[in-house]
């Protein structure tokens, strides 16, 4: 019998601990598939961050380091600089990457650190039970913005991909979503490409993946997917924001 669907080699057999309807699990699978498709599992070192995906090292079946909150790009830099021929990636939430770790991600991009960053934007702090994130939308109710995020006190949500795309060091920047099958397939392509960019030593690559947090959004899983489509996608437009320069040329 022909196998049409199986667990990627790069995923362990450990069941995900994520809440029902959380798309972290899907994104893990996409990362694992990219690792399999590139056939790099033995050559890859992953960096887990602090957030709900802190246990990414339990699921992604390659060498992994667990890093401090926000510092995954620095940890990845340390690994990549001493092992330049290994594939190094980080997996970070939006609190991790866009708030406490915003310095590390900007500088990793500015240096065009030859790493792959998977940035999971669920517009909230999941692990610490639903506080406002730098990516929370205006009007979004969270534990620490109970009346809804307002400009006067909390300012505007940060579009990390657009911001990083202004840096010549950022070689590949794409934003994708997980709210339906079609978009999951696009996400898969972008993640594959972000590893490909690293493989070709083209510099810093990041894929921002719009993701759900039904529990802390106070929604049913299906409602959460619709909320991504109706509220997140308009503020966080999808697509490739930067692609690597042609061989021999510098990024503009």
């Amino acid at each position: 019998m022909k196998t049409v669907f199986q667990r990627p080699r790069a995923l362990t057999d450990k069941p995900f601990h994520y809440c029902p309807g959380c798309t972290h699990g899907i994104i893990h699978r996409l990362v694992a598939e990219a690792i399999d498709d590139h056939d790099i599992i033995e050559n890859t070192v992953g960096v887990a961050s602090v957030g709900c995906s802190v246990f990414a090292y339990e699921y992604l079946n390659c060498d992994m380091q667990q890093s401090a909150h926000g510092r995954a790009p620095a940890v990845a830099t340390g690994i990549k600089r001493v092992l330049p021929d290994r594939m190094v990636f980080t997996y970070q939430g939006d609190g991790d990457l866009a708030s406490i770790g915003i310095g590390e991600i900007i500088h990793a991009a500015a240096r065009s650190e030859n790493i792959t960053v998977i940035f999971v934007n669920n517009a909230i702090y999941g692990m610490t039970s639903g506080q406002m994130a730098p990516t929370s939308l205006l009007g979004q109710k969270t534990a620490t913005s109970p009346l809804g995020r307002c400009v006067e006190t909390n300012g505007y949500p940060i579009r990390m991909s657009e911001m990083l795309a202004t840096l010549p060091g950022a070689s590949y920047i794409a934003r994708v979503s997980t709210h339906d099958a079609k978009h999951v397939l696009q996400a898969k392509k972008a993640i594959f490409k972000a590893f490909d960019v690293q493989k070709k030593q083209q510099g810093f690559a990041m894929v921002e993946v719009l993701s759900t947090c039904p529990v802390n959004w106070g929604m049913e899983p299906n409602e959460a997917l619709t909320w991504v489509k109706d509220n997140m996608v308009p503020y966080y437009p999808l697509g490739e924001l930067r692609t690597p320069a042609k061989e021999g040329e510098l990024n503009a």
Binding site: C62, A68, R71, V75, G78, H107
Partner: protein, 354 residues
């Protein structure tokens, strides 16, 4: 080998390179700037990586990554920068990774000043970061020792899989003395735990998270037991004229040099003064202090702090003999005469018994 005239900070950098250091991550701060500058120039000549990080926080986390990937790696900074590294040092200690951290201490609190001080003793020895962990802390007293201890720091880090700190000060860092370097790098150490890509072996994880109290307590006890073994094996000190002494000074780093001159001046006057100079402050060298206490010899601790190492001396003698204290702060350093005056005062006062 011929001696080379060098600044203390450069001696640390050259000593580290010769020991086989292959990566350096740091952020500028006075009075340690010669270390990254030296590394930037010379590390690449030895197939090493130099990278100026965007902050001390980033630098220590780069060290974590590189150490986890199996490299001989170091960072250096000065007091406020070390505060920023605290979380990272805790992670590195928790993950049991070898690395070297240099602190060329300046005066504080706050931005303080760039002048020498020893106010980071507690931070280095008692924690600094969160959780139950220890750094091995070396306190050089000369440019030669800065070179030697850079090598030793890597040796100890890899022997114990633990971060090692070299704690110096701006005077030692800036002053020039002739130094001699050991030949050849330290032998390579097997690091089967390193995250280098899982080729032909089960994958490796470098992690400090454990949400199960039962197993995490085991980890805590295992670390405690390791620190106990480090304490027994790695204490270092230098004792000068302690055998016949009526008063023993305790001082480390630059202060010990001044104290040595004061000791000589006292001896010239027929006063029997000795000196204990801790070369490690974790582990703290208890034996010479216990020996002084058992012989009823009072102590004078001299520090460039409000009184930090003095607490460890008091613990070591456990109330058996008086422990006197003299200090300068804010970047001021006592001269030999100042220490001698205190010696005279104490020895007069106590009529030999103190």
């Amino acid at each position: 080998m011929a001696k080379i005239l060098m600044k203390g900070n450069e001696a640390i950098a050259e000593g580290a390179i010769r020991a086989g250091c292959k990566a350096f991550f740091g952020y500028p701060i006075t009075p340690q700037n010669e270390i990254p500058a030296y590394m930037a120039q010379h590390l690449p000549e030895h197939e090493g990586v130099f990278l100026q990080a965007e902050s001390e926080v980033a630098a220590i986390n780069m060290v974590y990554g590189a150490a986890g990937a199996g490299a001989r790696v170091m960072t250096s900074s000065s007091s406020p920068g070390i505060s920023l590294k605290a979380e990272g040092m805790s992670y590195i200690a928790g993950a049991e990774l070898p690395c070297v951290i240099v602190n060329i201490v300046r005066c504080g609190p706050g931005l303080g000043g760039i002048h020498p001080a020893q106010g980071d003793y507690f931070q280095a020895v008692k924690g600094g970061g969160h959780g139950d962990y220890r750094l091995i802390v070396l306190t050089p007293g000369s440019v030669q020792e800065m070179a030697d201890m850079a090598r030793e720091a890597f040796y100890l880090a890899e022997k114990w899989n633990n971060p090692v700190m070299i704690m110096g000060d701006g005077i030692l860092g800036q002053m020039m003395e002739p130094v001699e370097f050991a030949n050849g790098p330290l032998p390579p150490v097997d690091k089967p735990w390193a995250t280098t890509g899982a080729v032909g072996r089960p994958r490796n994880l470098i992690n400090t998270l454990d949400i199960m109290p039962e197993s995490f307590e085991k980890k805590n006890f295992a670390l405690t037991e390791k620190y106990q073994r480090i304490s027994e094996a790695e204490m270092q000190w230098e004792a000068t004229n302690t055998e016949d002494a009526d008063l023993v000074i305790a001082a480390y780093g630059i202060v010990a040099r001044v104290a040595k001159t004061a000791l000589q001046m006292a001896r010239d006057r027929g006063l029997k003064v000795g000196l204990i100079r801790p070369k490690t402050v974790f582990p703290f060298p208890n034996p010479p202090f216990e020996s002084a206490a058992s012989r009823n010899i009072p102590l004078l601790v001299v520090e460039l702090s409000a009184g930090q190492m003095v607490e460890d001396v008091r613990l070591a003698v456990n109330g058996r003999v008086p422990v006197h204290f003299q200090n300068r702060m804010g970047g001021m350093v006592p001269g030999p005469q100042e220490i001698l005056d205190r010696i005279l005062e104490l020895m007069d006062q106590g009529g030999g018994q103190l």
